[in-house]
C-alpha cells in the first residue's frame, strides 16, 4: 500500500485556510442577523477574496478541496486521493 506522508507545509497552509475560513463563518452568521453592517460586509468581501487566492495555492500543491466542479481536477482524477480530513 502506498503511504504518502504529508509535508509540514500541508499542515501550515491548512491551518491558514482554517483560520481565514473561520473568520468567514463568523462573519456569515453575524451578517445573517446584521445585514446592514457595511464595515463587516467589507471585511467579509476582503476575506472572501483572500480565501480564493489561498484556495488556489493550496489546491495546486495538495489537490482539490471541493468537487462537483468547484475545484479543477488533476490527471488522473485526484479528488479521492487520501488522506481524508479525519485521517491526517
Amino acid at each position: 500500500m502506498s503511504q504518502k506522508e504529508l509535508p509540514k507545509e500541508f499542515y501550515e497552509m491548512m491551518e491558514e485556510l482554517q483560520a481565514i475560513d473561520f473568520v468567514l463563518v463568523e462573519l456569515t452568521l453575524y451578517l445573517d442577523t446584521h445585514p446592514d453592517d457595511f464595515e463587516a460586509i467589507e471585511q467579509f468581501n476582503e476575506n472572501a477574496h483572500a480565501r480564493q487566492i489561498l484556495k488556489q495555492k493550496f489546491e495546486q500543491q495538495f489537490g482539490p478541496l471541493q468537487q462537483y466542479g468547484n475545484s479543477y481536477s488533476g490527471y488522473p482524477w485526484n479528488w479521492d486521493d487520501p488522506p481524508w480530513p479525519w485521517q491526517i
Binding site: E15, Q18, A19, I20, F22, V23, E26, L27, Y30, T33, H34, D37, E39, A40
Partner: protein, 77 residues
C-alpha cells in the same frame, strides 16, 4: 463591590448525614452571550489565527472553560 465573573456560586444545604465529603460551594456557568444582548457593531476582534483558536471572532464572547483536571494542574480561574 465584588468583581464581575461569569462563574456563579451557590451553597447547597449540607446535612450531617450526607455520605460523600461535602462540596460546600457549587459553581455554574453563565456564558457571555447572556449579557451582550443584540450584538453592537464594531466590537473588538481577534486576528484570524487567534479567532480560530478562541472559537470566536469577537473578544467579548471568548469564555475559556477548564476541566476539573486542568484546574487541579493550576489552570482555570
Amino acid at each position: 463591590m465584588a468583581k464581575f465573573t461569569l462563574r456563579k456560586q451557590y451553597r447547597p444545604y449540607v446535612s450531617p448525614f450526607d455520605p460523600c465529603p461535602s462540596i460546600r460551594v457549587k459553581t455554574y456557568v453563565t456564558p457571555p452571550n447572556l449579557y451582550v444582548g443584540f450584538q453592537p457593531e464594531k466590537l473588538p476582534q481577534f486576528n484570524a489565527k487567534q479567532a480560530l483558536f478562541a472559537g470566536t471572532l469577537w473578544k467579548v464572547f471568548y469564555d475559556p472553560y477548564y476541566g476539573s483536571e486542568e484546574k487541579e494542574k493550576g489552570g482555570g480561574q
